[in-house]
């Protein structure tokens, strides 16, 4: 009986681990393997070239730019999403009636349900300098078209707004539901001590929600790494390379432009190592 019970976790875990090994481990090991070769799509055979791909990456201006863009994207979208989520969540908790909260929660869930590619097309059209509904007021007032997606200084921020629109509103609903689960006593005690509203949230509510908020931040950090479809549809990495993230550049090298799958794999391997190290570090720091 005891043996059967101790075997139970193994029985449940084995199929899942086996599937994970096939779906994740095999391609990962293969990616590492071919990153030391010079394989291209048009040439099925490749030879081992050691670290040449990795060394070449550090003199590739597009790769270095992609690191910068990816970091900017990550910081921008995670920070803005959390700020919007916490701000809106508190606003709903403070100002909206129960019915209104439910109605707005439903409304705020809609953007994230929308497929990302569809959202990207809708917003791309909305930002069009000639026909876009967002840019129309500017054109009507100034007489000049506003082309946010063609401007290297505004393109990334404009795409980030769409990402935040999808995820910030969704997270706001989660923050609202988290606030609703908190016990009322600490709030009442703070009010008796004449704490202002912002002080109640800054020093009472949010510290109580530290753990779930950190989890939300991690979910968003991982999600932001997978924003390929949104950026690809809205700007294709342009203007020039100003919105070209690492995954997009790797995809371009592997499939769109060169077919250099070994070179693309070396980028993917570096991304995997960097994100694993960074996430482990942040996770450990966040727990302290």
């Amino acid at each position: 009986m005891k043996n059967a019970r101790s075997l139970l976790p193994t029985v449940f875990l084995t199929p899942a681990m086996a599937i994970l090994a096939v779906l994740a481990l095999v391609p990962t090991v293969y990616a590492v393997f071919i990153s030391f070769q010079d394989r291209e799509l048009s040439r099925p055979d490749g030879r081992f070239i050691g670290l040449e791909n990795y060394i070449a990456l550090f003199s590739d201006r597009r790769f270095l730019n992609a690191i910068k863009v990816s970091l900017t994207w990550e910081i921008l979208t995670v920070a803005l999403t959390l700020v919007i989520a916490v701000g809106l969540g508190i606003l709903l908790f403070e100002c909206a009636s129960a019915k209104m909260r439910n109605f707005l929660s439903l409304l705020f869930l809609m953007p994230v349900i929308l497929p990302r590619v569809s959202a990207a097309f809708v917003w791309k059209f909305a930002f069009h300098p000639l026909y876009g509904i967002i840019t129309y007021p500017y054109k009507a007032i100034t007489g000049q078209p506003l082309d946010l997606l063609s401007n290297p200084f505004t393109a990334l921020g404009t795409v980030a707004l769409v990402d935040v629109w999808q995820w910030g509103l969704f997270f706001a609903v989660i923050v609202l539901k988290l606030l609703e689960t908190l016990p009322p006593q600490p709030f009442e005690a703070a009010r008796l001590d004449h704490a202002k509203t912002w002080e109640i949230y800054a020093y009472v509510a949010l510290p109580m929600l530290k753990a779930p908020l950190i989890s939300l931040a991690f979910v968003k950090m991982i999600e932001s790494l997978r924003a390929f479809d949104l950026i690809y549809v809205m700007t294709r990495g342009g203007p020039g390379i100003s919105t070209e993230t690492l995954d997009m550049y790797a995809f371009s090298q592997g499939f769109i432009e060169s077919g250099r799958i070994s070179y693309a794999s070396s980028m993917a391997v570096l991304m995997m190592i960097a994100t694993s190290v960074a996430f482990t570090f942040i996770w450990k720091r966040a727990k302290i």
Binding site: S42, P129, P239, I241, S242, S252, I256
Partner: protein, 425 residues
Amino acid sequence: MKKMNTLVSSIAIACAFFGGSVHFASAAECSGTIRVLAQPRDGLTLLEKYKDEFAKLSGGADFKIDYLNENDRRAKTKADASTIGKYNVYYVDEANVALFASSGWLAPLQNYYPKDYDYADFDPGRQKVATYDGKVWFAPLTGGGDLMVYRKDLLEAAGIQPPKTLDEYVAAVKKLNQPDKGIYGTALRGQRGSGANVWRWMPFFKGFGGQWFDGKTPVFDGDAAVKATQTYLELFKYSAPGSQTGGWDEAVGAFTSGQVAMLIESTPLVGMALDKKSSQVADKIGYAPPPTPLTGGGYGHGLAIGAKANKDEAAKQCAGLFIGWATSKENEQRRLAEGQFSELNRTSVMTSKTFADMYGAALGQALADTGKVTAVNFWQSAQWPDLGDRWGIILEELITGTRTDIKGGLDELNGFAKDLVARGQ
């Protein structure tokens, strides 16, 4: 399920009549589903109405077409052809036919294209584009060169004659540019890509005498490329908003919505501009060959037989039969009847009385005239997409102001080209 796209059985040669008066020369015994990866074309959508006809002709086969836009179609066909190869028929174009053919991803078309479908009837220019290394690889679905398309009403109001030289063209674009009235001088393509901004830039480069390579040595980094880029950037000052990072769709959309005075674009633009369903300027346009010394960008897109998915001769024959039927004279006449100007490729159809009745003699003359200046502007090599796409990025940077040094950009491309040639050896 796995067998859904497997084509079984052999071809039985016989003459047959299907669908009343529609004549198809070969009857076959194919089954399963022929999978096609293509980009959206009205002609292909029209084909889907006649699935039953193909089923009868082929002895029971069906076909399924997956559509992706041009850049995505190029990426997906490359990925599929080089790996699992699940598509029996690929939509290829002038820019990647060399890569697909030299990589062994395609089967030579004429070994499997039924003779009765008369491949020789296709426009000779398109046949040329479909040929690489002495073999034909695809049957054209669309193709042609460039035309200068302009708004007759705007030119007349400004007292401008249709430009015949590039200098006249640039002057006219500047004069016609009136953003305060919602009219822009021209519309170019700024979006990165060998088939996007580079495609529109190349007529300037070639027109100024530029060459890509001398043997295996890159020679494009010279005065012609600098002058071509300067002219292109100058014209961009008068190009419709949105075109700086836009491609064909943005340029054509701006023109057909009445916001552009004149542009030089691929010939299908005329069909779209003349179509009252999609164009607000259908009654106001004129067309002429590109101004001197610009060359027209000769191009061709079509259907080719995938080598991997069609594992045996019978499967290749079925794919060939599908391509033959899809590009047949009968289907092209259906496209003509639907007003799908850009989907016409056969000499017999384009010189027919029906064509002349529908589009008038002037268009026929303009097409004939532009044929004289149509040229292959790109580097005919399997490595062209790689080089062209890299220049596309640098050119987009120049257009959007991320960089300003034209010579520096060309020097960077020169270094890239040398690496590219070395890698290919």
